[in-house]
Subunit: 369 residues, 2 copies
């Protein structure tokens, strides 16, 4: 495990995006989204994905110089065409429109089509929180999840994020995939040679399985709730909501037509829409009540839940967003941890693109642990 | 099981609400909410609850002649004080404001405080669908659910509803509690002397249990996801979102302070807000794209999911809202089924309030099966 100072990882990521032709501002913004994920400890959605975005660009599936633009609008709603650009750039563009609409009218909602993977939903929702607004961000994604009663991968892990400002405490950020488990967790179990818990995935023939390779071998992830008896139809319903807001409402693709993030899989033919879709929104807290009153009650809410009676004495209730807030502080101080595989991948990417490789210096010398 | 013609159940329910002093329009509206739940087959939230509302009124916890009013407003947001009235009346009042705001500005969002139980969330969200809008409705509720890592009941089953118009197909209505199972399911299992599946509830000392009486005996329901390994922190996060939008944003109560629906439990002291809270919203579909395009894609979405490859040949994928749509057709034709316990409860209620009891006539003669 290496720990790299934030600024060094930012500079490196920025030069990768520049090297594929992104304008300065876009490269800086995309860097901010990815490095924020790593800072927050969501390393599955940080620079580990950088080479994936580059491969999409190499395959002609990503426009490095997009001109995102509004194609339909009312005072508080809009649809943005992302012009095939990075979701990392297009989604913040759309969120700024939502925030401006909220500033003027109380709330703003923007559907986005013709985009690509937008990183962590929490980044986008948190942009609204900085303005004392409630932020909302969802996206559809490569189909990996089977609806209840089906064996077919028709939905992505379709995350939902709500972010709420608080007072003394950090913002409450609910940022969650609508599947029982993320695909990355199966990969980790597979690499370690471990089985997975029942309830994460189905085998290709629709049976419950503990095989970490189930999805690779034609199976599917399960919706949150895992099985019908435990409410998987609710996880399916939530994921459907995300797919409809992101894909159907925007004019993007939806369901099995959502183009895969991995460049070695081609998008299916006869797509009903353009690219992948997102949906973001912002509501002014003071559109409902004075901000100070809201924040005081948020703090009381958080304190009450943090202090809840515990099942095990050593494990308190975790407030959504709290671990990511703590991770950010740690990673700012101590550097951002990069596992060996990601470090190697980034160095290969640098070599391929002719970018200065990552270097560890001083206390940052690689700790190959 | 009796089946009662819809109109007769409506007339009866209306006279009960009138008898406790509700104005004509309020009695008709509250009746529509409850009977719609029964038509949709959600009998846990229909006239089975009528005597519960009456007991709240008897206990001075329900204002039968409320004057709901806007206390805070921007062009697309508002907070409504429900004046202690029936949520069945207050929530539609708020939703009409959201719809009017959406008509003018594209979207509308209303937080509601000082209210009571609002029936099925789907009723409120569907009001928006009638205007080719996307409807949203959530509410907090009596605390029964423990957050992940806690044994304490701090959240209600806090339902989330999104409703989307479609074209040839009925609307897609995702209307779900954010707990793994509803409390009513434990009661049904208990009455039948059956155990419950692990993952629905915790015992009072925080252990996994199959005891249907667990919640009655001081335990708690579990969030959607059931345990941490299967994503219960996501169910907790969703439920938290509902609680914050409904309670904290509106100035209602939240968490453990939400007043219980059952009149024999007193609200806890030192409440931070007023009554229970809801949050509703509406977005014009044509604020994003032409309605016809959206509906055509919705129909394609629905057809694709309905046609998905099945785990078992006899069980197709169920589109959210489809069973309720079918139930409505059946119950309109054949009458609304009332189980014996509810029938008896309604007759006792009629006797107590001096209202004409329910009568079965012609093909409607009670079938005490």
């Amino acid at each position: 495990m290496n720990r790299l100072p934030e600024q060094r990882l930012r500079a490196f990521t920025y030069s990768i995006f520049k090297s594929i032709g992104c304008p300065d501002a876009d490269a800086a913004l995309a860097t901010d989204v990815l490095v924020t994920a790593d800072l927050r400890g969501v390393d599955s959605h940080g620079v580990a994905r950088l080479s994936g975005y580059v491969r999409l660009w190499e395959n002609g599936r990503l426009n490095a110089t997009p001109k995102p633009h509004v194609v339909h609008e009312t005072p508080t709603t809009a649809t943005v065409d992302g012009d095939g650009g990075l979701g990392l750039v297009v989604a913040p563009y759309a969120m700024e429109i939502a925030i401006e609409k909220a500033r003027q009218y109380g709330s703003g909602w923007v559907a986005i089509r013709n985009s690509n993977h937008f990183g962590i939903a929490g980044y986008h929702a948190l942009r609204a929180v900085a303005h004392d607004m409630i932020g909302y961000a969802v996206t559809n994604a490569s189909p990996l999840v089977a609806p209840t009663f089906s064996t077919e991968r028709l939905l992505g892990t379709n995350p939902v994020c709500y972010a709420f400002p608080a007072g003394e405490y950090p913002p409450v950020v609910v940022d969650m995939a609508t599947s029982a488990a993320a695909n990355g967790k199966l990969e980790v179990a597979g690499r370690a040679g471990n089985p997975i818990p029942e309830g994460w995935a189905l085998s290709a023939d629709g049976q419950a399985t503990t095989d970490a390779a189930a999805v690779k071998n034609g199976g599917a992830l399960l919706p949150l709730g895992s099985d019908r008896e435990h409410g998987s139809h609710k996880g399916f319903g939530l994921s459907a909501t995300v797919d409809i807001l992101s894909g159907v409402l925007s004019g993007a693709n939806y369901g099995p037509w959502v183009p895969p993030f991995v460049a070695y899989l081609q998008p299916v033919a006869d797509q009903p829409g353009q690219g992948i879709g997102h949906f973001v929104g912002a509501m002014r807290v003071d559109g409902f009540r004075p901000v100070a009153d809201f924040k005081a009650n948020m703090d009381q809410w958080i304190a009450r839940f943090k202090g809840a009676r515990r099942v095990e004495e050593r494990q308190p209730v975790i407030i959504p967003g709290e671990p990511e807030h703590k991770a950010t502080r740690t990673n700012r101080e101590r550097g951002i941890p990069l596992v060996e595989a990601v470090w190697t991948d980034l160095q290969q990417l640098a070599a391929k693109l002719g970018v200065t490789p990552l270097v560890m210096e001083g206390e940052g010398i690689p700790d190959k642990g």
